[in-house]
């Protein structure tokens, strides 16, 4: 029960994903379509299980570091051993759930469509190795930004090495028994270190030691106006162009990696990956909106505005940041377009707004996070993800030249709805507790 709770029910996001996943799984398994339409039962099943196992499978390492630094937990007997066993247990559980759902989904289709038994064992081995890789990598990466960078480099190294050695089909080579053996070896080495380490350090993200000399309060530059001060408060002393520049650099960094390591794949696949990545960079505006909503309580008194006036001002600030991020995404997209040969079949005139529309929706979804979250927020999140998939990734992957104006239009309607919802929530905003920002 403890494993189930930590794996699927510990955080609010996990609970939502588990519930949504279970609902989708139920639709896939119980209300499955007739046997003569075998493909149609699988998407909801896999979507459901994917949502359920996403957190335990991919974020277990972060949880492990978090729990390993909890003093209250470490006071329990054999705490480290139990935590390690729990981490492995959750990984096994999540992998088993995944394989079981895969098996169950195919029981509803005619026998000729069912995969052979060895495919299940191969899939189990690959799921376990992916989970192991993610757990250990995220455990290390969650230590500090420097370790994260190191992990990204290490992650890419084997692919680069195999590519240099001329091994074309690395996935098949590393799959099956090899990956299973490597996973066991990784857990063994990691486990020995984990149990013997004198101290597991807490995550140092955002806790850097300041080395500036002592300064008097008057020696710090003071914003000229109240609006400037409010803006600097919301953006933690940053500016919209600075944030846009960070996004541009981050996008170019990731795109560079993708271009180096995936340039051998089909052009359509590479286009889908790179433009999909840019759409995800664009939705960082959601994090900006959410952070601004969280910081707004502290502005209630000094801003001297009503709730709606404050919302209007914060909305303008978040749109300014969204514009900066949009410019960064647009520049990166144009660069990818011109450098990529052959160019995507889809016109750039459609691709640019299609990349930015999810970001626009995300601004208001972020601003909606005003201490009241509901199923609506999760549905909006799914709709934004669907917009990226159907409006950008899928057409590019299929090499389609037809612009999906219908998807773009739907996203603009969604953006307008989310804006109204955000205004509605702010009208009766109840900042009952400060949020850590």
């Amino acid at each position: 029960m403890q494993l189930l709770r930590v794996g699927f029910w510990m955080l609010p996001l996990q609970r939502w994903l588990t519930l949504l996943g279970a609902a989708s799984l139920l639709v896939g398994l119980v209300f499955h379509p007739p046997a003569n339409a075998p493909g149609s039962t699988l998407p909801p099943t896999f979507l459901g299980v994917g949502l359920m196992v996403m957190v335990p499978l991919l974020a277990g390492g972060v949880f492990l570091r978090m729990l390993s630094t909890s003093r209250a937990l470490l006071l329990r007997p054999h705490a480290r051993g139990r935590l390690l066993a729990g981490a492995v247990g959750i990984l096994l559980l999540a992998s088993s759930v995944w394989i079981f759902a895969y098996w169950a989904a195919f029981q509803q289709v005619p026998a000729k469509f069912r995969p052979p038994l060895e495919e299940y064992s191969l899939m189990l081995a690959m799921t376990l190795s992916l989970g192991t890789l993610c757990a250990v990598a995220l455990f290390i990466a969650s230590r500090s930004p420097m370790w994260t960078l190191l992990i990204i480099l290490i992650w890419q190294a084997p692919g680069l090495l195999l590519h240099a050695l001329g091994v074309e089909d690395a996935t098949r080579l590393l799959g099956g028994p090899v990956s299973l053996a490597m996973s066991l070896l990784v857990w063994l080495v990691f486990g020995i270190w984990y149990l013997r380490a004198r101290r597991i350090h807490a995550s140092a993200w955002g806790h850097r030691q300041d080395s500036t000399p002592a300064m008097a309060t008057t020696s710090v530059s003071q914003p000229a106006t109240r609006e400037q001060a409010m803006s600097r408060w919301l953006l933690a002393n940053q500016s919209a162009p600075q944030l846009g520049l960070y996004c541009l650099l981050a996008a170019l960094f990731v795109l560079g990696f993708q271009w180096i390591f995936a340039r051998e794949v089909e052009a359509q696949t590479l286009h889908a990956i790179m433009f999909g990545t840019l759409a995800i960079v664009a939705v960082l505006t959601g994090a900006v909106g959410r952070t601004m909503a969280a910081r707004s309580r502290a502005l209630w008194l000094p801003a001297g505005r009503t709730r709606l006036q404050l919302y209007g001002w914060i909305e303008r600030q978040s749109l300014l940041v969204a514009l900066a991020i949009g410019v960064a995404v647009g520049l990166a997209a144009t660069l990818v377009w011109w450098l990529g040969a052959p160019h995507p079949a889809m016109p750039l005139g459609y691709l640019l707004p299609a990349l930015l529309a999810p970001g626009l929706c995300s601004v208001w979804l972020g601003l909606m996070q005003q201490h009241r979250r509901s199923l609506l927020d999760v549905l909006a999140m799914i709709a934004i993800a669907a917009g990226i998939f159907y409006g950008v990734v899928r057409p590019l992957f299929a090499g389609s030249a037809a612009a999906r104006w219908d998807v773009l239009g739907a996203q603009l309607v969604l953006a307008a709805l989310l804006r109204e919802m955000a205004r509605l929530r702010w009208r009766s905003a109840d900042w009952r507790r400060a949020q850590r920002v």
Binding site: G206, D210, A216, P223, A236, W300, P302, A434
Partner: protein, 293 residues
Amino acid sequence: MTDASVIATRGLVKEAGGRQILKGVDLAAARGEVVGLLGKNGAGKSTLLDVLLGFALPSAGDARVFGEPSQNLSAASKARIGFVPQQDELMSLMSGAQHLALAASFHTQWDHALIERLAREWEVPLNRRIGTLSGGERQKVATLLALGHRPELLLMDEPASGLDPVARRQFMVTLLEIAAETNRTILFSSHIVSDIERVASHVWILREGEIAWQGELDQLKESTVRLLLRAEAEFAAPLSLPGQLHCELQGRTASVVLGDWSAERLPEIERATASRAELVPLTLEDMFLAVHA
């Protein structure tokens, strides 16, 4: 509620999560009062402060600050308020000095000299990023942010809970200095009853969302006493005296805490209980415990 009230609530109700946190609270604080807000965990202290500041909207009833509804305070009224939250809202990546520079820009008047002096006296490391400060140091920075514009109304939610005894004593001395300034009203909640006893002129005691007692601290002390009753024979049944807050029986001795006390009641009580009564002075902590017994 009078026109001179800085804070006034009438029938204030706040519901959240399907539960009533404040249940028809009537309160008033005038200019110059230093009010200590006492209550157990979950009694509704932070919620009351949130409603007074306009962070939370009342579910029913009325909450007014400077005569205006708290949820629609004007800019001028907001500028007269300072607030120290229980959980600070500081940003980890910014230093204390950067926070103070921003806060100074929010207000037309900012007392740099006062802040410099307090930061020196309280030994606040303003050059370090907030993320590297201890809980107590963060609390000191949050308090400096609330004091810089010399607010007429200062609301503080557990302002000294994270401070060590030395820092707490310094903080309380400063609070007394601030309170001594004319027309300054202070409302602060605390679990540390001795702090309230040292500083407050008035006390509000919240019990499960309702006001159990409100008024001047001296009046509370005068009107609430403990009587040690010694009888010839054992007390047969629990006592039930008018204004009784708490009673403990031990054979022929009874310890009774009484509200609404006046010295004239002593002979009457001795007669009614067939015992000799001895008056024992009560601390605020004793009274708080008696109210919650």
